[in-house]
Point group: C2
């Protein structure tokens, strides 16, 4: 019988335990072997939990117990979680994690240890929550040259934008509502500034290039500057404002990952993704394009992804290293191209007198403010255009790229 | 070096060969071992093909060549393909297929042989073409109790309905256009009567129950009776008419798979799936719901799925039986519940005098014809309602269920 340890009994960890016991019979049937949760690691006490006998506060109980062959890390963060996951992998234990920060910061190192120790380091839950994306990308789409990935990888910001779009709430009211409903943290920085989405696009970028892409090297802009006005003008243009994390592979082999709010035209299915849902569009030379949609966070959705990994661990136990060779550490400057050279149609909203849109632009509004969408230009040229307008006395209220897939 | 045989050099088979050689370097890197295509089986001659040295007309060349460990079946049909796949599996060769008819008719038997011979029988391409759905459902979502699946599993009919919706074409003109563009066969029966979608929902039904579900036991209605009028009234109601293949798991453990045109409300992402694209929504107790979208057919999209399987075969060679235990043969009457007992809101379009909609119905149109959508009722009750209207002298022009997820 295989023994499992769950690290962390917060939202995700308790979901893992709950879903495991709820569907234990069918899970073990699919796994093809018997298994049980032996330990739950948490510094807190849960004297009333039906699982109270499984709790420990000491990671060494788990690390040094040879019976434990599978570890589900659901702690979050990249300090203790890093130490604990590393210690487990060093002992040859198979690890599954929902921790995007850990994978985005330490993936290459942990994958290398897993390879050396002939065990698996899985992280399906780290991107898109319940949405199967890591394994489909790594396995089902493996015959493709993946050229572009773009999607909504953060549910909190999508909820906020959805309220702005559908309920005419302004950003701060929508954020408060997200906090009230538990979709946003008290300190919402990681979500609204795009850091969370950035970690996830780094993981996908690493997966398609085989090189570890670090979050600090990726252009990241959040949604705090998006105004209700922009959302409404976007609507008039026929698009929804969404926080888009994307990565494009260039013909020179380099990539441009980036996170920023974008106008997503209604023809694109991503524009229709509402509430806290996530969606990832993947383009490749075989598939053309495919999209994966679902809940990007939450107790049971994330637990579903962690347990999918655990079942795979059970099936392949003693035959590990499945994802182990997927990416290695690298000097990011060698693989990242300058994001300012990517081209988009650009939405501008300007205030001032005697303003006119550049040639070829589509005028969305011409009243107190002038709002237009340009032809395709590089971000660099859009910045020059912005500077020109400013020099001419205009106030550039917003500048947002339009997604084209 | 592993040797691969491709059975059939039609649209899919030639796509497999093309995509394999196009991305050979990265494919073999992901596979972790060297491999090449040794044989292509086809009864036709291809003297000018760059691969002419690989062609054979005799399946025995492949079956009896112990070097060949992986076979990609792209012939279609369930006669020769069945014999050939069976012969290959009996020899312990790993088989990947795009052939939904074969899997829907003979899956249980072929999976049993694969298990016995310790090799893999994979069929990712058999449902949803390029869309990863078999492996995500089988692996990533394995911790879930899957309660409902509904989607667009046939691109030809979706193209036809899309033309009716967006270009006001009537059914026969849209069908002609689909034939001209190569999306529909000369004999379009399998598509427009729903048989193709039925085979695919049978495969998904088998996957979630572990029991082989046979197409002839599944209620299947195509789109030939859908009129432009219905499409337009659906629009007025706020829905798109789509051919929906679905399977619901009931609390008694039985299932109801069915294929029929349905009104899909605009809030549901499936309503936005246009052109020849497919999409599958999956509901489970962990994930809530997830959707998979992409190209359901075509040369390279289907080849992408077949080759994804081939890469997995290469990675797991000598360690097969991955899908082997997924489903077994069974008496379908023990697992299928009566589809007439499923409940839906029902759209009715009636002609006649002195007609009135039943209590609680939402009136869509009340002119020469009366069009309404009822409250939820069983299909059985909807048939009674239809009979009552007919008895009262009305002509029931259409009766279409509304999808609710």
């Amino acid at each position: 019988m295989s023994k499992i340890a769950v690290l962390g009994y917060g939202v995700v960890g308790s979901g893992v335990v709950e879903l495991f016991y709820k569907n234990k019979e069918s899970i073990l049937k699919k796994a093809g072997r018997d298994a049980d949760i032996k330990y739950i690691l948490d510094i807190r006490d849960f004297p009333d939990s039906p699982y109270r006998d499984k709790f420990t506060k000491d990671i060494n109980d788990i690390v040094n117990d040879d019976e434990v062959t599978i570890v589900a890390e659901c702690m979050g963060g990249a300090t203790f979680a890093y130490d604990f996951v590393k210690a487990c992998l060093m002992k040859g234990k198979n690890v599954s994690t929902s921790n995007k920060e850990l994978v985005a910061k330490k993936g290459a190192e942990l994958l290398a240890i897993a390879k050396e120790k002939n065990c698996n380091f899985f992280f399906e839950a780290s991107v898109g929550g319940a949405i199967p994306i890591i394994r489909p990308l790594h396995k089902c789409l493996a015959a493709n040259d993946i050229t572009y990935i773009a999607g909504i990888l953060n549910g909190t910001t999508n909820f906020i934008l959805d309220r702005m779009i559908n309920e005419n709430m302004d950003f701060s009211d929508a954020l408060s509502m997200a906090q009230k409903l538990g979709y946003a943290e008290k300190d919402p920085t990681a979500d609204i500034e795009g850091h969370d989405a950035c970690r996830k696009i780094c993981i996908l970028s690493s997966l398609i290039t085989g090189k570890h892409i670090y979050p600090e090297n990726v252009y990241t802009k959040g949604i705090t500057e998006i105004s209700l006005k922009d959302v409404k003008f976007a609507e008039k243009f026929g698009a929804a404002v969404k926080l888009i994390a994307s990565v494009r592979k260039l013909e020179n082999g380099k990539i441009i990952p980036m996170v920023m709010p974008m106008l997503v035209p209604y023809e694109n299915l991503i524009s229709r993704v509402d509430n806290v849902f996530n969606a990832v569009m993947v383009c490749g030379d075989g598939i053309d394009r495919a999209m994966f949609y679902g809940r990007g966070a939450g107790m049971l959705p994330t637990a579903s992804a962690v347990l999918g990994d655990v079942i795979e661990q059970l099936k392949t136990e003693g035959n590990g290293t499945d994802l182990a060779q997927t990416w290695v550490d690298c000097d990011n400057s060698e693989i990242l191209d300058d994001y300012k050279e990517s081209s988009f149609r650009m939405y501008f909203r300007l205030a001032g007198s005697d303003l006119s849109a550049p040639e070829g632009a589509e005028i969305v509004e011409n009243g107190d403010e002038i709002v237009f969408v340009t032809e395709k230009m590089t971000i660099s040229d859009a910045e020059k255009l912005e500077a020109d307008f400013t020099a001419a006395g205009a106030e550039v209220k917003s500048k947002i790229a339009v997604l084209e897939i």
